[in-house]
Protein backbone atom coordinates (compact mmCIF):
# COMPACT_ATOMS: atom_id res chain seq x y z
CA UNK A 1 0.00 0.00 0.00
CA UNK A 2 1.51 3.33 -0.98
CA UNK A 3 1.57 6.22 1.47
CA UNK A 4 -1.04 8.71 0.28
CA UNK A 5 0.27 11.68 2.26
CA UNK A 6 2.91 13.84 0.61
CA UNK A 7 5.57 15.03 3.00
CA UNK A 8 9.05 16.47 3.02
CA UNK A 9 11.87 14.33 4.42
CA UNK A 10 14.54 15.84 6.62
CA UNK A 11 17.52 14.16 8.19
CA UNK A 12 19.07 16.67 10.61
CA UNK A 13 22.70 16.20 11.63
CA UNK A 14 22.43 17.59 15.14
CA UNK A 15 19.89 18.38 17.83
CA UNK A 16 19.60 22.09 17.17
CA UNK A 17 18.83 21.45 13.52
CA UNK A 18 16.17 18.96 14.64
CA UNK A 19 14.52 21.34 17.10
CA UNK A 20 14.71 24.11 14.48
CA UNK A 21 12.73 21.92 12.10
CA UNK A 22 10.23 21.02 14.82
CA UNK A 23 9.68 24.72 15.55
CA UNK A 24 9.27 25.46 11.87
CA UNK A 25 6.60 22.81 11.36
CA UNK A 26 4.73 23.60 14.63
CA UNK A 27 3.40 20.10 15.30
CA UNK A 28 2.88 19.28 11.62
CA UNK A 29 6.01 17.11 11.49
CA UNK A 30 6.51 13.52 12.64
CA UNK A 31 9.75 12.21 14.11
CA UNK A 32 11.10 9.02 12.57
CA UNK A 33 13.50 6.59 14.23
CA UNK A 34 12.70 2.91 13.55
CA UNK A 35 9.45 3.70 11.76
CA UNK A 36 7.80 0.42 12.72
CA UNK A 37 4.75 2.28 14.05
CA UNK A 38 5.01 5.48 12.01
CA UNK A 39 5.09 3.87 8.56
CA UNK A 40 1.96 1.86 9.39
CA UNK A 41 0.21 5.02 10.57
CA UNK A 42 1.26 6.88 7.42
CA UNK A 43 -0.05 4.07 5.22
CA UNK A 44 -3.35 4.00 7.08
CA UNK A 45 -3.73 7.77 6.99
CA UNK A 46 -3.76 8.01 10.78
CA UNK A 47 -0.89 10.48 10.55
CA UNK A 48 -0.72 13.05 7.75
CA UNK A 49 2.37 15.14 8.51
CA UNK A 50 3.84 17.86 6.31
CA UNK A 51 7.30 16.61 7.14
CA UNK A 52 9.04 13.53 8.47
CA UNK A 53 12.17 14.22 10.51
CA UNK A 54 14.53 11.26 10.57
CA UNK A 55 16.62 11.41 13.76
CA UNK A 56 19.02 8.63 12.79
CA UNK A 57 21.58 11.12 11.51
CA UNK A 58 22.08 12.68 14.96
CA UNK A 59 25.11 11.02 16.62
CA UNK A 60 24.12 12.30 20.11
CA UNK A 61 21.15 9.92 20.06
CA UNK A 62 23.15 6.75 19.45
CA UNK A 63 24.63 6.20 22.90
CA UNK A 64 23.97 3.33 25.31
CA UNK A 65 26.21 3.90 28.31
CA UNK A 66 26.51 4.52 32.04
CA UNK A 67 27.46 7.93 33.42
CA UNK A 68 27.08 9.06 37.03
CA UNK A 69 25.48 5.78 38.08
CA UNK A 70 22.81 6.19 35.43
CA UNK A 71 22.21 4.16 32.30
CA UNK A 72 21.37 6.41 29.38
CA UNK A 73 19.63 4.90 26.35
CA UNK A 74 19.72 7.21 23.34
CA UNK A 75 16.63 7.73 21.23
CA UNK A 76 18.08 5.83 18.29
CA UNK A 77 18.90 2.64 20.27
CA UNK A 78 16.96 -0.35 18.98
CA UNK A 79 15.50 -3.24 20.96
CA UNK A 80 18.04 -5.54 19.32
CA UNK A 81 20.85 -3.33 20.61
CA UNK A 82 19.36 -3.49 24.12
CA UNK A 83 19.10 -7.28 23.92
CA UNK A 84 22.71 -7.53 22.74
CA UNK A 85 23.95 -5.25 25.54
CA UNK A 86 25.67 -7.12 28.36
CA UNK A 87 25.23 -4.04 30.50
CA UNK A 88 21.44 -4.08 30.12
CA UNK A 89 21.26 -7.81 30.75
CA UNK A 90 23.39 -7.60 33.87
CA UNK A 91 22.09 -4.42 35.48
CA UNK A 92 18.51 -4.15 34.16
CA UNK A 93 17.51 -7.74 33.45
CA UNK A 94 13.75 -7.06 33.53
CA UNK A 95 14.23 -4.52 30.72
CA UNK A 96 16.35 -7.05 28.84
CA UNK A 97 13.63 -9.66 29.32
CA UNK A 98 10.90 -7.26 28.19
CA UNK A 99 12.88 -6.17 25.11
CA UNK A 100 13.02 -9.78 23.93
CA UNK A 101 9.22 -9.97 23.88
CA UNK A 102 8.73 -6.99 21.58
CA UNK A 103 7.33 -7.97 18.17
CA UNK A 104 9.78 -10.03 16.05
CA UNK A 105 13.51 -10.00 15.27
CA UNK A 106 13.08 -8.04 12.04
CA UNK A 107 11.00 -5.41 13.85
CA UNK A 108 13.33 -5.23 16.87
CA UNK A 109 16.24 -4.60 14.50
CA UNK A 110 14.64 -1.23 13.68
CA UNK A 111 12.21 -0.38 16.49
CA UNK A 112 13.58 1.78 19.28
CA UNK A 113 12.74 1.83 22.98
CA UNK A 114 12.22 5.59 22.87
CA UNK A 115 9.95 5.20 19.85
CA UNK A 116 7.93 2.70 21.86
CA UNK A 117 7.53 5.30 24.63
CA UNK A 118 6.57 7.99 22.11
CA UNK A 119 3.98 5.79 20.36
CA UNK A 120 2.58 5.25 23.86
CA UNK A 121 0.09 2.55 22.94
CA UNK A 122 -1.34 0.96 26.11
CA UNK A 123 0.26 -2.42 25.36
CA UNK A 124 3.83 -1.15 25.06
CA UNK A 125 6.23 -3.77 26.39
CA UNK A 126 8.96 -1.20 26.94
CA UNK A 127 7.18 0.69 29.70
CA UNK A 128 6.57 -1.62 32.69
CA UNK A 129 10.23 -2.52 33.13
CA UNK A 130 11.27 1.13 32.76
CA UNK A 131 8.65 2.12 35.33
CA UNK A 132 9.95 -0.31 37.96
CA UNK A 133 13.49 0.96 37.35
CA UNK A 134 12.27 4.58 37.91
CA UNK A 135 13.18 5.73 34.42
CA UNK A 136 13.20 9.36 33.31
CA UNK A 137 12.56 10.69 29.82
CA UNK A 138 14.88 13.44 28.59
CA UNK A 139 13.49 15.88 26.07
CA UNK A 140 15.00 18.74 24.14
CA UNK A 141 13.09 21.70 22.76
CA UNK A 142 14.27 24.86 21.02
CA UNK A 143 15.13 26.56 24.32
CA UNK A 144 15.16 24.06 27.12
CA UNK A 145 15.80 20.48 28.11
CA UNK A 146 13.34 18.68 30.34
CA UNK A 147 13.59 15.58 32.48
CA UNK A 148 10.23 13.89 32.92
CA UNK A 149 9.72 10.88 35.22
CA UNK A 150 8.21 8.06 33.18
CA UNK A 151 5.37 7.93 35.74
CA UNK A 152 4.32 11.39 34.44
CA UNK A 153 5.11 10.75 30.79
CA UNK A 154 1.97 8.97 29.58
CA UNK A 155 -1.08 11.23 29.54
CA UNK A 156 -3.47 8.85 27.74
CA UNK A 157 -3.52 6.17 25.05
CA UNK A 158 -1.02 7.30 22.40
CA UNK A 159 -0.57 10.56 24.30
CA UNK A 160 2.51 11.78 26.11
CA UNK A 161 3.87 14.87 27.83
CA UNK A 162 6.06 15.63 24.78
CA UNK A 163 5.49 19.12 23.36
CA UNK A 164 5.16 19.61 19.58
CA UNK A 165 8.54 21.33 19.30
CA UNK A 166 10.39 18.78 21.43
CA UNK A 167 12.06 15.47 20.77
CA UNK A 168 13.13 12.79 23.20
CA UNK A 169 16.89 12.51 23.38
CA UNK A 170 17.22 9.61 25.81
CA UNK A 171 15.64 7.57 28.56
CA UNK A 172 17.69 7.28 31.72
CA UNK A 173 17.62 4.63 34.45
CA UNK A 174 19.45 4.98 37.76
CA UNK A 175 21.60 1.92 38.47
CA UNK A 176 19.83 -0.10 41.19
CA UNK A 177 21.58 0.66 44.48
CA UNK A 178 20.45 -2.50 46.22
CA UNK A 179 20.75 -6.06 45.10
CA UNK A 180 17.70 -6.68 42.96
CA UNK A 181 16.08 -9.14 40.59
CA UNK A 182 13.14 -8.78 38.31
CA UNK A 183 11.01 -10.24 35.58
CA UNK A 184 8.72 -9.24 32.75
CA UNK A 185 5.70 -11.46 32.29
CA UNK A 186 3.87 -11.07 29.00
CA UNK A 187 0.61 -12.70 28.04
CA UNK A 188 -0.02 -13.01 24.29
CA UNK A 189 -2.53 -15.03 22.33
CA UNK A 190 0.21 -17.42 21.30
CA UNK A 191 3.94 -17.80 21.66
CA UNK A 192 5.81 -15.65 19.22
CA UNK A 193 5.02 -12.25 17.84
CA UNK A 194 1.96 -10.63 19.42
CA UNK A 195 0.94 -7.54 21.30
CA UNK A 196 0.51 -7.99 25.03
CA UNK A 197 -2.92 -8.83 26.42
CA UNK A 198 -1.39 -8.15 29.81
CA UNK A 199 2.18 -7.16 30.63
CA UNK A 200 3.68 -7.04 34.11
CA UNK A 201 7.14 -6.08 35.31
CA UNK A 202 8.25 -6.98 38.82
CA UNK A 203 11.34 -5.76 40.62
CA UNK A 204 12.31 -7.35 43.92
CA UNK A 205 14.91 -5.50 45.98
CA UNK A 206 16.76 -6.72 49.01
CA UNK A 207 14.83 -5.92 52.18
CA UNK A 208 11.48 -7.00 50.75
CA UNK A 209 10.92 -3.95 48.61
CA UNK A 210 8.78 -4.47 45.55
CA UNK A 211 8.07 -2.47 42.46
CA UNK A 212 5.39 -3.50 40.02
CA UNK A 213 4.02 -2.05 36.80
CA UNK A 214 1.35 -3.20 34.35
CA UNK A 215 0.70 -2.47 30.69
CA UNK A 216 -2.20 -3.30 28.34
CA UNK A 217 -4.74 -3.30 31.17
CA UNK A 218 -5.59 0.40 31.28
CA UNK A 219 -5.26 3.55 29.19
CA UNK A 220 -1.60 3.93 30.17
CA UNK A 221 1.15 1.75 31.60
CA UNK A 222 1.56 2.47 35.32
CA UNK A 223 2.93 1.32 38.63
CA UNK A 224 0.72 -0.78 40.95
CA UNK A 225 1.26 1.36 44.02
CA UNK A 226 -1.42 -0.19 46.22
CA UNK A 227 0.10 -3.64 45.79
CA UNK A 228 3.58 -2.23 46.33
CA UNK A 229 2.44 -0.65 49.62
CA UNK A 230 0.87 -3.90 50.79
CA UNK A 231 4.03 -5.90 50.06
CA UNK A 232 6.47 -3.37 51.46
CA UNK A 233 8.86 -4.83 54.06
CA UNK A 234 6.91 -8.07 54.27
CA UNK A 235 8.29 -11.48 53.56
CA UNK A 236 6.57 -13.08 50.59
CA UNK A 237 4.12 -15.83 51.63
CA UNK A 238 1.16 -17.60 50.04
CA UNK A 239 -1.20 -15.60 52.26
CA UNK A 240 0.43 -12.30 51.28
CA UNK A 241 0.31 -13.19 47.59
CA UNK A 242 -3.38 -14.09 47.90
CA UNK A 243 -4.05 -10.71 49.49
CA UNK A 244 -2.04 -8.93 46.81
CA UNK A 245 -4.10 -10.65 44.12
CA UNK A 246 -7.29 -9.20 45.57
CA UNK A 247 -5.87 -5.72 44.98
CA UNK A 248 -5.30 -6.26 41.26
CA UNK A 249 -8.87 -5.23 40.46
CA UNK A 250 -8.18 -1.85 42.09
CA UNK A 251 -5.00 -1.29 40.08
CA UNK A 252 -6.08 -2.03 36.53
CA UNK A 253 -9.02 -1.27 34.23
CA UNK A 254 -8.77 -3.72 31.35
CA UNK A 255 -11.02 -3.44 28.31
CA UNK A 256 -12.45 -6.10 26.03
CA UNK A 257 -11.00 -5.98 22.54
CA UNK A 258 -9.95 -8.25 19.69
CA UNK A 259 -7.14 -9.76 21.76
CA UNK A 260 -8.91 -10.61 25.02
CA UNK A 261 -11.94 -9.96 27.19
CA UNK A 262 -11.77 -7.70 30.18
CA UNK A 263 -12.55 -10.64 32.48
CA UNK A 264 -9.77 -12.79 31.04
CA UNK A 265 -7.27 -9.96 31.35
CA UNK A 266 -8.23 -9.37 34.99
CA UNK A 267 -7.98 -13.07 35.83
CA UNK A 268 -4.65 -13.49 34.10
CA UNK A 269 -3.24 -10.33 35.67
CA UNK A 270 -3.72 -12.04 39.03
CA UNK A 271 -2.10 -15.27 37.85
CA UNK A 272 0.77 -13.26 36.41
CA UNK A 273 1.18 -11.28 39.62
CA UNK A 274 1.64 -14.49 41.58
CA UNK A 275 4.12 -15.96 39.11
CA UNK A 276 5.93 -12.65 38.70
CA UNK A 277 6.38 -12.19 42.44
CA UNK A 278 7.56 -15.77 42.92
CA UNK A 279 9.92 -15.59 39.96
CA UNK A 280 11.48 -12.31 41.03
CA UNK A 281 11.86 -13.57 44.61
CA UNK A 282 13.48 -16.80 43.41
CA UNK A 283 15.85 -14.92 41.12
CA UNK A 284 16.81 -12.60 43.96
CA UNK A 285 17.74 -15.70 45.93
CA UNK A 286 19.86 -16.91 43.04
CA UNK A 287 17.31 -19.50 41.96
CA UNK A 288 14.34 -19.51 39.62
CA UNK A 289 14.22 -19.69 35.85
CA UNK A 290 16.92 -17.98 33.77
CA UNK A 291 16.07 -14.56 32.37
CA UNK A 292 14.25 -14.92 29.09
CA UNK A 293 12.39 -18.09 30.07
CA UNK A 294 8.64 -17.49 30.04
CA UNK A 295 6.89 -18.24 33.32
CA UNK A 296 3.47 -18.54 31.68
Amino acid sequence: MPIATDFEYHKPKDLSEATGLLSRYQGRAQLLAGGTDLIVWLKEGMKTPEAVIDIKGIPELWHLDVKNDTLSIGARVTFTELIESGLVKERFPALWEASRTVASCGVRNRATLVGNLCSAVPSLDGAPALLVYDACVHTRGPVEERKIPLSEWFTGPKRTALLPDELVTAVELPLPKKKSAGCYVKLGRYRGEDLAQVGLAVLAEEGNLWKLAFCAVGPIAKRAEKIEALLKSKKLSEALIAKAKTLVVKEISPITDIRASSEYRLHMAQVMLERGLKTAAARLAGKGPAYGVSVL
Binding site: A4, K56, S104, R110, E193
Partner: protein, 153 residues
Protein backbone atom coordinates in the same frame (compact mmCIF):
# COMPACT_ATOMS: atom_id res chain seq x y z
CA UNK B 1 7.06 16.87 -3.17
CA UNK B 2 10.72 16.71 -4.04
CA UNK B 3 12.08 13.81 -6.00
CA UNK B 4 15.38 12.69 -4.62
CA UNK B 5 17.98 10.51 -6.22
CA UNK B 6 19.13 7.86 -3.78
CA UNK B 7 22.13 5.64 -4.12
CA UNK B 8 22.44 2.30 -2.45
CA UNK B 9 24.45 -0.86 -2.68
CA UNK B 10 21.98 -3.54 -3.72
CA UNK B 11 23.27 -7.10 -3.61
CA UNK B 12 26.80 -5.81 -3.99
CA UNK B 13 26.10 -3.49 -6.91
CA UNK B 14 25.81 0.29 -6.66
CA UNK B 15 22.35 1.39 -7.82
CA UNK B 16 20.49 4.66 -8.13
CA UNK B 17 16.78 5.34 -7.97
CA UNK B 18 14.66 8.46 -8.12
CA UNK B 19 12.27 8.36 -5.18
CA UNK B 20 9.74 10.57 -3.47
CA UNK B 21 9.90 10.92 0.32
CA UNK B 22 6.80 8.76 0.78
CA UNK B 23 8.03 5.86 -1.39
CA UNK B 24 8.42 2.69 0.64
CA UNK B 25 11.53 0.53 0.25
CA UNK B 26 9.69 -2.68 -0.74
CA UNK B 27 7.96 -0.90 -3.63
CA UNK B 28 11.17 0.71 -4.85
CA UNK B 29 13.04 -2.61 -4.68
CA UNK B 30 10.37 -4.45 -6.63
CA UNK B 31 9.09 -1.81 -9.06
CA UNK B 32 12.10 0.42 -9.71
CA UNK B 33 15.09 -1.82 -9.03
CA UNK B 34 13.64 -5.09 -10.33
CA UNK B 35 14.31 -7.23 -7.28
CA UNK B 36 11.34 -9.54 -6.92
CA UNK B 37 12.20 -11.89 -4.06
CA UNK B 38 10.84 -9.68 -1.26
CA UNK B 39 7.05 -9.93 -1.36
CA UNK B 40 4.25 -7.66 -0.25
CA UNK B 41 2.15 -9.64 2.21
CA UNK B 42 0.50 -7.83 5.10
CA UNK B 43 2.29 -4.58 4.24
CA UNK B 44 2.38 -3.64 7.94
CA UNK B 45 5.31 -5.52 9.41
CA UNK B 46 3.50 -8.57 10.74
CA UNK B 47 4.18 -11.29 8.16
CA UNK B 48 7.86 -11.03 7.24
CA UNK B 49 7.54 -11.73 3.49
CA UNK B 50 9.19 -8.38 2.67
CA UNK B 51 12.29 -9.14 4.78
CA UNK B 52 15.59 -7.79 3.44
CA UNK B 53 18.95 -7.06 5.03
CA UNK B 54 19.45 -3.32 5.49
CA UNK B 55 22.93 -2.37 6.69
CA UNK B 56 23.54 -5.88 7.98
CA UNK B 57 20.26 -6.51 9.82
CA UNK B 58 17.00 -7.98 8.62
CA UNK B 59 14.22 -5.43 8.45
CA UNK B 60 10.66 -5.23 7.24
CA UNK B 61 11.12 -3.38 3.95
CA UNK B 62 7.40 -2.47 4.02
CA UNK B 63 8.18 -0.33 7.10
CA UNK B 64 11.19 1.52 5.70
CA UNK B 65 11.06 4.65 3.58
CA UNK B 66 13.18 4.15 0.48
CA UNK B 67 14.94 7.43 1.19
CA UNK B 68 16.19 6.00 4.50
CA UNK B 69 18.23 3.47 2.54
CA UNK B 70 20.16 6.27 0.77
CA UNK B 71 23.85 5.54 1.19
CA UNK B 72 23.08 2.16 2.73
CA UNK B 73 23.39 -1.45 1.76
CA UNK B 74 20.50 -3.76 0.93
CA UNK B 75 20.85 -7.50 0.49
CA UNK B 76 17.95 -9.65 -0.66
CA UNK B 77 17.66 -13.36 -1.33
CA UNK B 78 19.19 -12.76 -4.77
CA UNK B 79 22.27 -11.38 -3.02
CA UNK B 80 22.94 -14.25 -0.65
CA UNK B 81 22.73 -16.93 -3.34
CA UNK B 82 24.86 -15.34 -6.03
CA UNK B 83 27.21 -18.32 -6.03
CA UNK B 84 24.42 -20.87 -5.94
CA UNK B 85 22.19 -21.97 -3.07
CA UNK B 86 23.66 -21.66 0.41
CA UNK B 87 23.98 -24.58 2.81
CA UNK B 88 20.81 -23.37 4.49
CA UNK B 89 18.89 -23.14 1.23
CA UNK B 90 20.00 -26.66 0.26
CA UNK B 91 18.75 -27.87 3.60
CA UNK B 92 15.33 -26.34 2.86
CA UNK B 93 15.31 -28.01 -0.56
CA UNK B 94 16.35 -31.40 0.85
CA UNK B 95 13.34 -31.39 3.16
CA UNK B 96 10.88 -29.76 0.74
CA UNK B 97 10.37 -27.27 3.53
CA UNK B 98 8.18 -24.93 1.54
CA UNK B 99 4.96 -25.50 -0.35
CA UNK B 100 3.73 -22.33 -2.05
CA UNK B 101 7.03 -20.58 -1.39
CA UNK B 102 5.62 -17.11 -0.76
CA UNK B 103 7.23 -16.90 2.70
CA UNK B 104 10.47 -18.54 1.57
CA UNK B 105 12.59 -15.44 0.74
CA UNK B 106 11.80 -13.87 4.11
CA UNK B 107 12.20 -17.13 5.96
CA UNK B 108 15.59 -17.81 4.36
CA UNK B 109 16.85 -14.33 5.25
CA UNK B 110 15.56 -14.54 8.83
CA UNK B 111 17.28 -17.90 9.28
CA UNK B 112 20.43 -16.61 7.58
CA UNK B 113 20.63 -13.77 10.10
CA UNK B 114 20.08 -16.19 12.97
CA UNK B 115 22.90 -18.51 11.85
CA UNK B 116 25.23 -15.56 11.27
CA UNK B 117 24.79 -14.38 14.85
CA UNK B 118 24.28 -17.76 16.47
CA UNK B 119 25.71 -20.68 14.46
CA UNK B 120 24.32 -23.34 16.82
CA UNK B 121 20.87 -22.24 17.94
CA UNK B 122 18.57 -24.36 20.06
CA UNK B 123 15.06 -25.04 18.83
CA UNK B 124 13.51 -22.20 20.85
CA UNK B 125 15.97 -19.74 19.35
CA UNK B 126 15.06 -20.92 15.84
CA UNK B 127 11.37 -20.54 16.63
CA UNK B 128 11.93 -17.03 17.99
CA UNK B 129 14.04 -16.03 14.98
CA UNK B 130 11.26 -16.92 12.53
CA UNK B 131 8.33 -15.96 14.77
CA UNK B 132 7.73 -12.85 12.67
CA UNK B 133 7.72 -14.80 9.38
CA UNK B 134 4.33 -16.31 8.73
CA UNK B 135 3.88 -19.49 6.70
CA UNK B 136 0.34 -20.61 5.97
CA UNK B 137 1.25 -23.92 4.29
CA UNK B 138 3.59 -26.01 6.35
CA UNK B 139 2.92 -25.66 10.05
CA UNK B 140 6.59 -24.64 10.34
CA UNK B 141 7.97 -28.06 11.32
CA UNK B 142 9.87 -28.75 8.06
CA UNK B 143 11.22 -25.19 8.13
CA UNK B 144 12.51 -25.49 11.70
CA UNK B 145 14.00 -28.92 10.97
CA UNK B 146 15.85 -27.59 7.92
CA UNK B 147 17.37 -24.76 9.95
CA UNK B 148 18.36 -27.22 12.69
CA UNK B 149 19.97 -29.50 10.12
CA UNK B 150 21.85 -26.65 8.45
CA UNK B 151 23.17 -25.54 11.83
CA UNK B 152 24.46 -29.05 12.58
CA UNK B 153 26.43 -29.30 9.33
Amino acid sequence: MTKTSIQLKLNGISRRADVEPNDVLIDVLRDKLGVKSPKVGCDRGDCGTCTVFLNGRTVRSCLVLAIEADGGEVVTLEGISKDGPTKLQKSFVDRSSFQCGFCAPGMVLAATELLQNNPHPVREEIQEAIAGNLCRCTGYSPIIEAIEAAAKK
